[in-house]
Amino acid sequence: MAAKNVKEGEVAMNMDKRIIKIIEKIGKTSDKLIEILLEVQKQSDENYITEKELKIISKELRIPLSKVYGVASFYSMLSTKKRGKYVVQICNSAPCYVKNSKEVAKFFEAALGIKMGEITEDGLFSLEFTSCIGACDLAPAVKINEEIYGNLDRDKIYKIIDSLRKEEK
């Protein structure tokens, strides 16, 4: 039991150090908050920022936790909830909306067997809406991690998912 506690303590300490290192690299001032949040999230396999990480950032930058959380919950690029390794963000701003982004969402839901806001059991995919990703010319479009996929239909959606799954094998 004691050994386990020591080990947990070490893990926590390492996380502290890792976050503090990121903060020191980017700059320990409150105006760097978004950059720091993005970098911390980038290093996460689950594409989100944990409560413990937010607390360290809040403490180091001397910004209230509510505000750090407020910023993290404002931007759809950032998440305070666990997400998949691939975050499928379906644009539902006006141009994509009129090109049937709702339908796109349904196809993704069917293809992945999850609902919007959920994560697949293997932790590979999660589904969410986002506001405009600047790909209106390709509407309806989605963003999966750093990639944009446009002019989507049912077939294309299944193909994208298949190819990402294959990459993982």
Partner: protein
């Protein structure tokens, strides 16, 4: 400064550059409705209720945040403006829980008033308001998100005035709400329960936890001996709730009312404020003479206590160990008073009337039971007292003024000024000076420590020593002075900190009021002082009796047991 000529509703007006349409209109007595706007806060421009027409412009301008331009022709009361404002209000109402008849703000809600003024008779939009559970799992503050109109006033006061940030804007767009990180209960975040958010909320989204029913219940229980104490700031603000001018002093009427509804004894917190001065003054001298921790900081404001426990636990030994006057009163009521009048302390119910929401939480601190019982049973805010009066249907305006009961009713002007920022310091200096020098203090008014400024300082020659003092109010200023202490830059002997801007007269349990109203309350507090027969705590004859009969001496064994306390590192929350 450059002058700007504008025309509002056909009236020419000249204002300095940078003036908003709202303020230019005020100058010629044209009233533009506002909702998110608060005179003591930054301009937000989020609600859009104040929109006006500007000639040559195809869209409306929000009057609160649009500076006037030369030659601007503005119309504030056209059909187009009235209809648009109506639509804006209806949109707000679509996302507002309109249960006005059972709402705490029924009759004094800013949104309700606007709806009346704008002849809102229907809501044309689908209701989208979510009836979420009410958050009240803490001792002091209740949040009802279904009422929140997201004006942002509470966020500003919590972050910018108090420098705490227990709440902030969470999420975005129609999902946006005011809340804590991860939607935690207030008791699980660093909330000091100062209640300043309540004082600025225009609607019923945030309010104090009511304890009125407990008071009625105790009063109707024949087996209970129910005593009440009233804080210094309550008597100069309650009148506002009954249409009196800000700054009206209604002490005698409140005493009369409390007696009428059945309190066995009506006492004055000012008595234990005097006692605080004796104990705290002696503690300060003890620290100065024995190389104790300096600067010593006052400890009567429970929001402030929570603040230092949350954010600066390493500085806790700077705090005076004196309990607040409220808690000293409770400890004495269930010991000295019970013994003297032969009442079983088990049957004594102590009710406090306080300008403060944090006092509700203070009374529930587990260490506040040195009498062997919970020292204070029920805490009501000034606003709750007003509700109690309305409920009783007694017309306070018509009541004759009466005096407090003895023994805890004889008090001094020094105690009265506890209610205003700088007051505790001034009261302490009056006593410490005479205690040390043995001479009478001729000029007892420390005017440079008075007034609403966030930071004040001064030096007073007391015998051989130049006593350096500082006074801060508002927690952001408290943070500043704690940082100074940490960096070794605060060479003061004594610092007074009050959690709320202006001191207790601006407390989170007070009638809502702007800075102008707070200034009137402060004037009234000093009027009470100057009208007092005794103006120094150590001259209070009952305090002398109390030491003779019971406590023996300041900082003595009994004082330590009943009147002093300790604090807790709460930084982990």
């Amino acid at each position: 400064m450059k002058k700007i000529n504008v025309n509002i509703n056909g009236i020419d007006v000249v204002v300095p550059e940078g003036t908003t349409i709202l303020n230019a209109a005020k100058k010629v007595h044209i009233d533009i409705p506002t909702l998110c706007y608060h005179p003591d806060q930054k301009i937000k421009g989020s609600c859009r209720v104040c929109i006006v027409e500007v000639e040559g412009q195809s869209t409306f301008s929000a009057a609160c945040c649009t500076p006037v331009r030369n030659g601007m022709r503005i119309k504030t009361n056209t059909k187009k403006v009235r209809e648009a404002r109506k639509t804006i209000l209806e949109l707000i109402l679509a996302d507002h829980n309109c249960d006005c008849l059972t709402c705490i703000r029924n009759g004094n809600c800013e949104l309700q008033i606007l709806c009346e003024e704008h002849n809102i008779d229907t809501i044309s939009f689908d209701k989208v308001v979510k009836l979420l559970p009410i958050n009240d799992k803490n001792p002091a503050i209740v949040r009802d998100e279904s009422k929140c109109i997201k004006c942002g006033r509470c966020v500003e006061v919590c972050n910018e005035v108090q420098g705490i940030g227990a709440i902030y804007n969470i999420n975005r767009s129609c999902e946006m709400k005011i809340g804590t990180a991860y939607d935690k209960e207030l008791k699980n975040v660093k909330c000091t329960y100062c209640g300043q958010c309540i004082n600025v909320c225009p609607v019923g989204a945030i309010y104090e936890k009511s304890n009125i029913d407990e008071v009625w219940q105790a009063l109707e229980d024949d087996n209970k001996h129910v005593v009440v104490q009233m804080a210094p700031a309550v008597r100069v603000s309650l009148g506002e709730k009954f249409g009196m001018q800000p700054g009206s002093i209604v002490t005698g009427k409140i005493v009369s009312f409390l007696r009428k509804i059945g309190f066995d004894k009506v006492f004055d917190t000012n008595f234990t404020a005097d006692l605080t001065i004796i104990e705290e003054g002696n503690e300060l001298l003890h620290r100065i003479n024995n190389n104790g921790k300096l600067p010593m900081i006052t400890s009567c404001s429970p929001g402030w206590i929570r603040f230092i426990e949350y954010f600066y636990p390493e500085l806790l030994d700077h705090l005076s160990t004196c309990k607040s006057p409220q808690q000293m009163f409770g400890a004495l009521a269930k010991t000295y008073y019970a013994e003297k009048f032969n009442i079983n302390p088990e049957n004594i119910v102590v009710v406090s009337i306080m300008p403060c929401t944090a006092k509700k939480a203070e009374a529930l601190r587990e260490e506040m039971s040195d009498s062997g019982y919970q020292d204070i049973d029920v805490v009501l805010t000034t606003r709750e007292l007003a509700r109690l009066i309305k409920q009783s249907r007694i017309r306070i305006e018509e009541l004759k003024e009466e005096d407090f009961d003895s023994p805890f009713g004889i008090t001094t002007g020094a105690a009265a000024i506890f209610g205003a920022t700088g007051g505790v310091m001034e009261a302490a200096l009056r006593t410490v000076y005479e205690e040390v020098t043995g001479e009478e203090l001729k000029n007892i008014d420390f005017k440079n420590l008075r007034g609403i400024n966030g930071f004040k300082e001064g030096t007073v020659k007391v015998g051989e020593i130049d006593v350096k003092v500082a006074v801060v109010n508002g927690l952001k200023n408290a943070r500043m002075i704690l940082e100074m202490i940490k960096q070794g830059k605060a060479d003061y002997h004594f610092i007074e900190v009050m959690c709320c801007p202006g001191g207790c007269i601006g407390g989170g349990g007070q009638p809502r009021g702007t800075n102008d109203i707070k200034k009137k309350r402060i004037e009234a507090i000093y009027k009470v002082d100057i009208q007092s027969a005794i103006r120094k705590s150590h001259d209070n004859p009952v305090i002398k009796t109390l030491y003779k009969e019971f406590l023996t001496k300041p900082l003595g064994y009994k004082s330590h047991k009943l009147l002093h306390t300790h604090y807790k590192d709460r930084s982990d929350i």
